[in-house]
Amino acid sequence: MKIDRRDFVKRTGTYLVLTSAAAAAWDHVVAGTPETAPNYRVTDHWWGMAIDIDRCIGCGNCVRACKVENDVPHEPYYFRTWVERYHVPGGDIEHPVVDSPNGGHDGFPERYGAVDGAKNFFVPKLCNHCAHSPCTQVCPVGATFDGPDGVVLVDTSYCLGCRYCVQACPYGCRYIDPRTNTVDKCSLCYHRITRGLTTACCETCPTGARRLGDLKDPNDPIHEFLRTHKVQVLKPQMATGSKMYYSGLDGSVR
């Protein structure tokens, strides 16, 4: 049998098309249906958080609660939320001294005196659930995505573990879970908020320094907070559309 190039191209082309169609169909079959929460409509919500720096006492409740609630590994390099301590001597906001021993998990050992002429405060950090997330933009397979309710989530059954999203997050909010080799980050306690509860960190905060808010709910107190406080987001120059609104955010915080 003599095959010329035309036949060869035709035949190979057919095989290629058929194989990829079958593969795509199979992928669709194994993907299954996503988990749903009853009475929760994603389009009815737009989640954000109000964080009042002046109220944070650095107790670490939020960090501990988060680690337990979300089964975050206990090593000191894996956090969905953490707390930073800022020490700004002489009001020099260019050169703050920052620490976050074990992410604030165990509280903060006494380090700075009460009257040393410096500004001291705590800054709780977590995923900013950006409206224009640089992390979801770069995911090669869409395993991390922006939900219609403004929550940035990860489908760990689809994540390749390429770590591009970790690089793309300007805030350092993502880590690779060493047990699953997939990326993990704050989900805003999605399993809780879709059932009408607040997040573990907000639940356990003794001073109300962090409060979850639904920006689509006109009766949510977050609107009052945003009206009455001068707020700022972290790294506004990154234009990520962060929805973590900090009140009392000092210029030294980055």
Partner: protein, 409 residues
């Protein structure tokens, strides 16, 4: 952080302490760069009719193929779930720069490189299939895809298609490596990476490294085959290497000067990093030994009249230093971009393990693998014929020995 993390200097966001991209991700742009560069050298002959580099045409194509086959391996080895990587083809996220890798790669591998090599070698493959026996014959038959029409008319079509392919191939090679640069250059969170110059710097450093590699391989193979090096060819390659290097260095200097002059919020932090943690790999290896010295050596050949042996030695030294320098450049981009905190308040350390999935040993093996593949390819498809000989089976032809003209001086 505190004393619990001794390899951290200053403050890092807790999740930043561990590096995400290892030495394997350093290999990825290094290897794809060699591919793109080798291909550009091959196109010099085909598209721009630089006749002098003909002895390296086929060698450059085979080198590009050998390295391209290895290019995705470090990525696969690095992935947390390599078994899922095929999802990038089935359900690519079109906003992602990385999602396009598979397509750019396949396009370049299948539509450009393999097709071009196949067209160029088709006559040889058919003739080799006829003249060989046993399993070798089967291999050649498979490689010919069952097509054994080598009439002059058919070969003429091959030649025309191959030329067209090379013309598509140049933008494709640019795309392949410019794209790799874009993967880094488009990360706005990272000021060390985020610059529109990144793709073009990557591209020119790729051309530099690919030319240097083929030049070294040509000298090496000539020595192994005990044939004289075509000095006209070598001098021409050396000249193009110098030109590409000057452009590359100018672009990198532009990036550096721009950073220093603008001195944005990240500058102090990055400047400190370059002076400390990256001093050896950036200042010493990349800039001085890997760029300034080879440029000086290559320029010396242009300026001073030297004998053949001396020129060969200079080219060999410059080539090796070039490869070291470009590897250091990839290292400084990939690893350097992760040593500083995005808070600009601290630095971490990269700990390179040896026997580890992402350690030094797999990196060394992955760097040796393309040479093994190339060795097999050269045995199967001897590149010494030049591909343009009018008659006869693919035996080593006169191309390399005969044209030893005087130097361009």
């Amino acid at each position: 952080m505190d004393a619990t993390l001794p390899h951290v200097l200053g403050f890092m966001y807790p999740n930043e302490v561990e590096l995400q991209w290892s030495i394997l991700i350093v290999l990825y742009p290094f290897i794809t760069g060699l591919v793109a560069g080798a291909f550009i050298l091959a196109s010099l002959e085909k598209v721009f009719n630089v006749e002098a580099v003909r002895p390296t045409y086929r060698l450059a194509l085979l080198t590009a193929l050998a390295f391209l086959l290895v290019a995705p391996l470090p990525l696969q080895l690095h992935l947390g779930h390599p078994e899922r990587s095929f999802a990038m083809y089935l359900t690519p996220h079109l906003d992602s720069a990385m999602a396009m890798f598979g397509f750019v790669y396949l396009w370049y591998l299948m539509a450009v490189l393999i097709l071009e090599i196949w067209l160029d070698y088709r006559r040889d493959i058919v003739l080799l299939a006829r003249s060989s026996s046993g399993w070798l014959r089967v291999i050649y038959r498979v490689m010919s895809l069952g097509i054994d029409n080598i009439s002059p008319r058919s070969l003429e079509i091959d030649e025309r298609v191959a030329r067209f392919l090379t013309v598509i191939g140049i933008p494709s090679a640019f795309l392949l490596h410019g794209y790799v640069g874009f993967i880094f250059g488009s990360v706005k969170a990272n000021p060390w990476w985020s610059t529109p110059l990144m793709p073009i710097v990557f591209l020119f450093s790729a051309i530099v490294s690919g030319i240097a590699l083929v030049m070294l391989l040509y000298m090496l193979f000539s020595r192994m085959r005990r044939v004289a090096i075509d000095m006209r060819c070598l001098d021409t390659i050396g000249r193009y290497l110098l030109y590409a290097f000057i452009i590359d260095f100018a672009l990198e200097s532009l990036d550096l000067i721009h950073r220093m002059y603008e001195a944005d919020e990240s500058f102090k932090s990055l400047d400190f990093m370059v002076r400390t943690k990256l001093f050896t790999s950036q200042i010493v290896l990349q800039i001085i030994l890997g760029t300034l010295v080879p440029i000086a050596l290559l320029a010396l050949v242009q300026l001073v009249r030297l004998g053949e042996r001396a020129r060969q030695r200079l080219y060999a030294t410059a080539g090796v230093l070039t490869l070291i320098g470009i590897f250091a450049m990839r290292w400084n981009v990939v690893i350097g971009g992760q040593l500083f905190s995005k808070s600009f308040l601290g630095y971490t350390t990269y700990k390179l393990a040896f026997v580890h999935r992402e350690g030094l040993l797999p990196a060394i093996l992955l760097m040796l693998l393309p040479f093994a593949i190339l060795w097999v390819l050269v045995r199967l498809l001897p590149p010494w014929g030049g591909g343009h000989a009018p008659e006869g089976p693919a035996t080593p032809l006169q191309a390399e020995g005969g044209a030893a003209g005087p130097a361009q001086a």
